[in-house]
């Protein structure tokens, strides 16, 4: 099976804005699935609400598109109901760690065997560009017109506070690293969380002065550096994988 078999071609083109990097991540997930040779009949993609939430419908596999923030519990329900299925959650930061924060916290704690791909663009893009829990400090958005006064959520800290974890931070610019992380996550027996640093050009980038999607893609290249062997946790602006196979205590 090749990557093209995982895409519903009659639904193309996608409804994402020109230059949006969700499509890049989507493409690399299909490549990772091809590499891992996951049969289409043995996998399910679940997504929540938001731009990235629409991804579920573009996969040519059984997919579920649920309400805002509830992708993780539905995915966990599917996995616990049928252990044979490989369950992938593909959603955004506002969906997974904002409104669905509690579910994220507890599914990670229960180490449920789901693979969560979180497109972190630091904004609520689909609703017009409101402040997200991941918006960098001081950024102006529709709901923080004077700049956010809160620090962004430390997703790595939440995942790695468990006894057993697998966490990767990658970016939609570093596509080879992204592909490697996706492949590794599909193999990990347990809760795997990939935070893909991304951007929203239409509802965030333009207000910051970026002209097009590529400018923001290039910013990711400047901002993030790969750290193949992190010593402890990843620092800010480092990309890499941190994991711990320790048993739940």
């Amino acid at each position: 099976m090749i990557y093209k078999d995982y895409v519903k071609w009659d639904r193309m083109p996608t409804n994402w804005c020109p230059g949006c990097s969700i499509g890049t991540v989507f493409r690399h997930l299909t490549l990772a699935l091809e590499k891992a040779a996951v049969p289409r009949e043995q996998m399910v993609v679940v997504s929540g609400i938001g731009c990235s939430g629409r991804a579920a419908g573009y996969f040519n596999v059984d997919s579920v598109h649920v309400t805002h923030g509830r992708a993780i519990p539905v995915a966990e329900g599917i996995k616990r109901s049928n252990e044979k299925l490989k369950v992938i959650v593909f959603s955004g930061d506002g969906d997974l760690v904002g409104i669905g924060g509690n579910h994220f916290l507890h599914s990670a704690r229960r180490d449920s065997d789901i693979k969560v791909i979180c497109i972190n663009n630091g904004i609520y893009g689909m609703t017009g560009g409101q402040m997200a829990p991941t918006t960098p400090f001081g950024e102006k958005t529709l709901t923080s017109p004077f700049g956010t006064s809160y620090a962004p959520l430390n997703i790595q800290g939440i995942v790695t506070s468990n006894a057993r974890y697998w966490y990767a931070r990658t970016s939609s610019y570093h596509v080879n690293h992204l592909l490697k992380c996706l492949g590794e996550a599909l193999e990990w027996p347990g809760f795997a969380f990939i935070e893909v640093m991304s951007f929203c050009i239409e509802n965030f980038g333009r207000r910051q002065g970026f002209k097009n999607g590529f400018d923001m893609l290039f910013k990711l290249k400047q901002d993030y550096k790969l750290n193949p062997k992190p010593d402890g946790l990843l620092k800010n602006h480092e990309l890499g994988v941190v994991k711990n196979v320790g048993q739940a205590s």
């Binding site: 519903k8 639904r11 289409r40 009949e41 043995q42 399910v44 679940v46 579920a56 419908g57 040519n60 596999v61 059984d62 997919s63 579920v64 598109h65 649920v66 309400t67 509830r70 519990p73 539905v74 995915a75 966990e76 329900g77 599917i78 996995k79 616990r80 109901s81 049928n82 044979k84 299925l85 509690n102 579910h103 916290l105 507890h106």
Partner: protein
């Protein structure tokens, strides 16, 4: 074999009998016993103690989609939180059962006292239009029987079915012989996930393709779903009518209230709907026809009376038993004063 069984226990046993193999819930008085009993079955069934009420209903949706008969249990405050998932299950047409053991509200209210305040919430709690099937037993044996029927209705209609109980009934212990209850058990109707290309979505969709701006398709879709629900509900019309030829007054009551007013059958005709929704229009109209007065007695401020008023073109009186305590003496006096 006869045994002393509690209402909540009968619900759990009924669910197991119906073939339920997926249960997720969050502890809440007065529904927790259902969880306690099913927790001991972990291994035989998938049991999950969820982090919150919203997670539990969504876990159940996932469990049902992946091929198991699934149930969750809660009380009024939890029911309010579950409404999001109930709406989603109606949109995606996922069969499941929600048990709501009612307590006095709003909000935390009187947690340990019974009420019937979730009648409207059970049909209009989530936004948008949908037509759920709601069952309300009134004895421990009925708890068992109608839990099985709720699963059958869920499978046949492919929708979330609400089984209402009240705190009183849930903790009522009766000696019953459940082996003698025989109900046909319907098989699964939803093909489990793992087919390769189906798309389930909370958006309005046709064959898995969202059609979010097509008003005409919405009307067609809603008509189809409504017809399906009403037609399925025709197979689940449960009620009890105790006609008294001397009586000029018909008392309508359900759940524990019916049990309390049962001694009044010597003076009045009694009607007990078990299928609360869709409303048993024909049966209620037929029962009402020979009576001068119709009185609905319930432990809320006239929630079901309003629904009956919609199907009867005449005045429907009501007695509201509020605050979680109920006595036959008080009801008798208030009937006298009407």
């Amino acid at each position: 074999m006869k045994r002393l069984i509690m209402g909540n226990e009968a619900v759990a046993m009924g669910a197991l009998k119906a073939g339920m193999t997926f249960f997720a819930a969050y502890p809440i008085t007065p529904a927790s016993e259902i969880m306690h009993i099913l927790a001991e079955k972990e291994g035989e069934i998938v049991f999950l103690h969820a982090e919150d009420e919203i997670a539990s209903i969504h876990l159940v949706i996932g469990g049902s989609l992946a091929g198991r008969k699934a149930m969750t249990s809660t009380s009024g405050p939890g029911m309010s939180l579950k409404q999001e998932g109930i709406g989603l299950a109606h949109m995606m047409e996922v069969p499941l059962v929600v048990v709501d053991v009612q307590r006095v509200g709003p909000s935390t209210g009187m947690p340990t006292l019974p009420s019937q305040g979730d009648i409207i919430q059970s049909i209009h709690g989530s936004h948008g239009d949908y037509n759920p099937i709601v069952l309300y037993p009134s004895s421990v044996e009925e708890c068992y029987r109608y839990t099985i029927e709720a699963f059958n209705a869920a499978e046949e209609s492919r929708s979330p079915v609400v089984l209402l109980l009240d705190g009183f009934l849930a903790h009522l212990s009766e000696t019953v012989d459940l082996d003698r209850v025989s109900v046909e058990i319907k098989p699964r109707t939803l093909a489990p996930l793992g087919h390769g290309k189906r798309h389930f979505t909370g958006l309005l969709a046709k064959d898995g393709v969202p059609l979010t701006k097509d008003s005409l398709y919405y009307r067609e879709w809603y008509g189809r779903v409504k017809t399906k629900m009403l037609e399925t509900a025709m197979n689940y019309r449960f009620y009890e009518y105790l006609k008294n030829d001397q009586a000029d007054t018909l008392l309508i009551a359900y759940g524990i209230v019916f049990r309390v007013i049962l001694p009044l059958k010597k003076e009045f005709s009694l009607f007990k709907p078990v299928s609360l929704f869709p409303v048993l229009e024909k049966e209620i109209q037929a029962a009402a026809s020979g009576h001068k007065r119709i009185v609905v007695i319930e432990m809320n401020d006239g929630q079901y009376r309003g629904e009956i008023q919609k199907v009867l073109p005449r005045e429907v009186l009501g007695i509201s038993v509020l605050g979680g305590t109920i006595s036959l003496k008080e009801i008798r006096e208030r009937l006298h004063d009407l």
